[in-house]
């Protein structure tokens, strides 16, 4: 089982490395540059940006929930929630 897993991991590793080499050759860049662009620039920037977006969205949702009508079925709210829903 361990040998099979090890073989599978090796195959995936080789396939992904071949992908980076192919991407380099198809885009006219180098293997070094493609790796640097993907793992040192694009992915960290995307991860940080998406994390920030998630934090902002969670805050917006929290604010939107705070101003729900407290009495179920009541149509008017004490505070207009639309002010907080961008």
């Amino acid at each position: 089982m361990v040998k099979m897993l090890s073989y599978l991991v090796e195959c995936v590793f080789i396939y992904c490395t071949d992908f980076m080499i192919n991407l380099a050759n198809l885009t006219g860049l180098s293997y070094y540059e493609v790796n640097a662009l993907v793992f040192l620039l694009a992915w960290p920037a995307l991860t940080a940006g998406l994390l920030l977006l998630l934090i902002v969205q969670q805050q917006r949702l929290r604010k939107a929930r705070q101003y729900r009508c407290l009495v179920p079925g009541k149509t008017s709210c004490l505070v207009d929630p639309r002010r907080y829903l961008l």
Partner: protein
């Protein structure tokens, strides 16, 4: 189950794109290579015209012959580039660490971070409709 497949969708799309690129490139490669660990799509011999597995084995060769724009930024890129390689090597299983962190965990994290804000936005819209 529906939510899980939603979170995995960006990952599946990315892997499909990877397979598409590889299979397209396979038709353009004249010579592949075989290593002790498996069949490789690209050759292993060093060529100044294109990157091969030699660039994986010898980063210096790739930097000398293939780098186009990053030449002015080696001093900034190298510590991060080789730092990441050293960190993966330090685990003792470079291939496994590569696949685990760079192919599975990090893409999974990005997939989650991509889908979750969208789901939250749908929730906010539902709340807005209810109060609007």
């Amino acid at each position: 189950m529906k939510k899980l497949s939603l979170y995995l969708l960006p990952l599946l799309l990315a892997f499909s794109a990877m397979v598409a690129v590889n299979e397209y490139a396979r038709g353009t490669i004249r010579e592949s290579s075989v290593s002790p660990k498996g069949h490789r799509m690209n050759p292993s011999v060093a060529t100044p015209d294109a990157c091969t597995w030699n660039c994986y084995n010898d980063t210096g060769y790739c930097k000398r012959h293939h780098v186009k724009w990053a030449g002015d930024y080696f001093a900034f890129i190298d510590p991060l580039y080789f730092g990441m390689i050293r960190a993966l090597l330090a685990t003792g299983e470079y291939g496994m660490a590569n696949v685990l962190f760079l192919v599975v965990l990090w893409p999974l994290l990005m997939s989650y971070l991509l889908v979750k804000p969208l789901l939250i936005q749908f929730q906010i819209r539902r709340l807005r409709k209810r109060h609007g």
